[in-house]
């Protein structure tokens, strides 16, 4: 199944509260936000915890391992890409793309690990490949 997108990846425009996330991505690390008041991790990252509204949130590094929760491949040939939700080991599910899966069989539950793909402009963006 073709799932390696050769499309141009849109560059993210960080806000002050998310710059750290993209700096870490550039260094090959996937960050999550965790609330020090209620203990819940969350994604996408906010300055204020969406579970208890505490401003006492901190960045944690995710293991980068997870499983495909759902996926859909769209487009043909070179333009094909796979949109997916991946549930990380930390219990957080994030929207992403599955890449480097030309020879593999995509399925719900497939173990994947984070990889960083350069977007238009060069900023590395976290995506997932078979583990």
């Amino acid at each position: 199944m073709v799932s390696v997108g050769k499309r141009k990846i849109a560059a993210p425009s960080p806000h002050p509260e998310t710059e750290e996330y993209w700096r870490a991505a550039a260094a090959g690390r996937l960050l999550l936000k965790r609330c020090l008041a209620c203990g819940e991790p969350h994604h996408y990252p906010r300055a204020i915890c969406p579970f208890c509204l505490s401003a006492d949130t901190t960045w944690i590094e995710a293991s980068g391992r997870g499983r495909i929760y759902s996926y859909s491949t769209m487009g043909v040939a070179e333009a094909a890409y796979t949109l997916a939700y991946v549930t990380l080991e930390e219990g957080v599910t994030m929207l992403t793309n599955i890449v480097d899966c030309a020879e593999c069989e995509l399925r719900v539950g497939l173990q994947v690990k984070v990889v960083f793909e350069p977007c238009d402009g060069g900023q590395p963006v976290p995506m997932f490949a078979p583990a």
């Binding site: 806000h15 969350h42 994604h43 996408y44 969406p50 859909s72 949109l83 929207l95 977007c119």
Partner: protein, 413 residues
């Protein structure tokens, strides 16, 4: 605050809570308002019509259907498909003089929510006759189903845009998960399209009038796997409008009365990472609407279910309680949604899948076809006999991400 006052306040609060529990959450608006006018634009390709003109055409059509005139309208409702400054621009263009307005935008489900809000406004004395319009021309304009232009301040944008989520694959993610969790098949989803096409053959305005088979649906090209081309709604121009009025006014008109007896609205989203795609926001809007109406899904004779994609219908049918969670595939199979054949006639105008999806928003046409049934004005080949209770339910936004469900329960008076 003095302690005595505080005590009285607490007592009043407890009494009001009991009333809400005893009589349903929005008892204040239940049965106070009626849909007295409805009109669907016949065009499916508006090369020579502006978006504002479409809104005006449908406003005029709904007023004529009701037997009311422009000056009777004192409340106006529209969503993001209205051009310019939304309600303000349309009020100016239409020449309306209103004392109440609401431009809540939640995508395609907005008109269903607007009818509920209009009923609430009428019950509160904020207006007597409310106009709800929807219109657009994405087909003539050559617009795709891509999500609307990115808002750089949207907090989710930078965590989504790099992955290229589109309307099609955001619904496909839900279909894939449903297949994984419940064993739902592409053939079962196809039955939803097949049923819609059986109805569309009788609608002279429908874009796709040819009856299709399960095999044709599953053999049509994949758009976003597992969804095929024929799992998707049409892209069409056009629009529709409804008029909601106070009971006294409804009774003064020479039209069958359609009473609003229940409504519900609910948002759902990715939950900051706690995601569950097995259900939609209709799992919340539905029970609220049924509780207010005091009826159950088994009482419903006709169902308008927003069909942006086949999976949208399947998930809503489960969430609204027409079948248990996970049983949607078996429920829709073998023509169960076809009028005259199955147990739950749905989208008898052909729905968004075959008839019309004006402005890429299917909410208004869902209300209009439900009204036709309750007035016994649907096409004779699809009209449900003795239709006294109908539902109109919709999902606006993206099913696998943020979306809003709105549900209306209507009764022939």
């Amino acid at each position: 605050m003095h302690e005595v006052t505080l005590c009285i306040c607490k007592l009043l609060y407890k009494i009001s809570n009991w009333l809400v529990w005893r009589h349903g959450r929005s008892a204040i608006s239940k049965g106070k308002a009626y849909i007295v006018g409805a009109y669907e634009h016949p065009t499916r390709r508006a090369d020579t019509l502006s978006v504002a003109r479409i809104h005006a055409d449908v406003a005029k059509g709904a007023l004529e259907d009701a037997g009311l005139s422009l000056g009777d309208i004192d409340g106006y409702f529209c969503a993001g498909d209205a051009p310019g400054l939304g309600a303000a621009s349309m009020i100016e263009y239409l020449g309306l003089k209103v004392r109440h307005m609401d431009a809540t935008d939640c995508g395609g489900s907005a008109p269903i929510l607007h009818v509920a809000h209009a009923a609430q406004a009428i019950a509160m004395g904020k207006c007597d006759v409310a106009l709800v319009t929807l219109g657009g021309r994405p087909r003539a304009a050559g617009a795709s189903l891509a999500l609307r232009a990115a808002d750089g301040d949207a907090p989710e944008l930078q965590f989504e845009a790099p992955y290229a989520p589109l309307t099609q694959n955001l619904y496909a993610l839900v279909a894939r998960r449903h297949m994984h969790e419940f064993g739902t098949s592409s053939e079962q989803l196809a039955w939803i399209k097949v049923a819609a096409s059986h109805h569309a053959q009788h609608n002279v305005n429908a874009m796709l009038r040819r009856v299709v088979t399960v095999e044709e649906v599953v053999n049509s090209p994949l758009v976003a796997d597992p969804l095929h081309r024929l799992d998707c709604c049409v892209i069409s121009d056009g629009g529709g409008a409804v008029i909601v009025a106070r009971g006294e006014i409804a009774r003064s008109l020479d039209r069958p009365r359609v009473k609003i007896i229940g409504s519900g609205e609910a948002p759902k989203n990715a939950g900051a990472g706690k995601l569950d795609l097995s259900y939609s926001a209709a799992a919340f809007s539905g029970p609220i609407a049924f509780a207010e109406a005091g009826i159950t899904p088994a009482d419903i004779k006709y169902a308008s279910i927003y069909d942006s994609f086949t999976i949208t219908v399947l998930v809503q049918l489960e969430d609204l309680g027409f079948c248990p969670k996970g049983e949607g595939g078996r429920f829709v199979a073998d023509g169960n949604l076809i009028s005259g054949i199955g147990k739950l006639p749905f989208n008898t105008d052909g729905g968004g899948l075959c008839n019309n999806h004006p402005a890429n928003r299917g909410g208004i046409t869902k209300i209009i076809e439900a009204v036709r049934h309750l007035r016994a004005e649907a096409h004779p080949q699809v009209q449900v006999a003795n239709c006294d209770l109908a539902i109109a339910s919709g999902i606006g936004g993206a099913l696998a991400a943020r979306h809003v469900a709105a549900t209306l329960i209507l009764e022939r008076d």
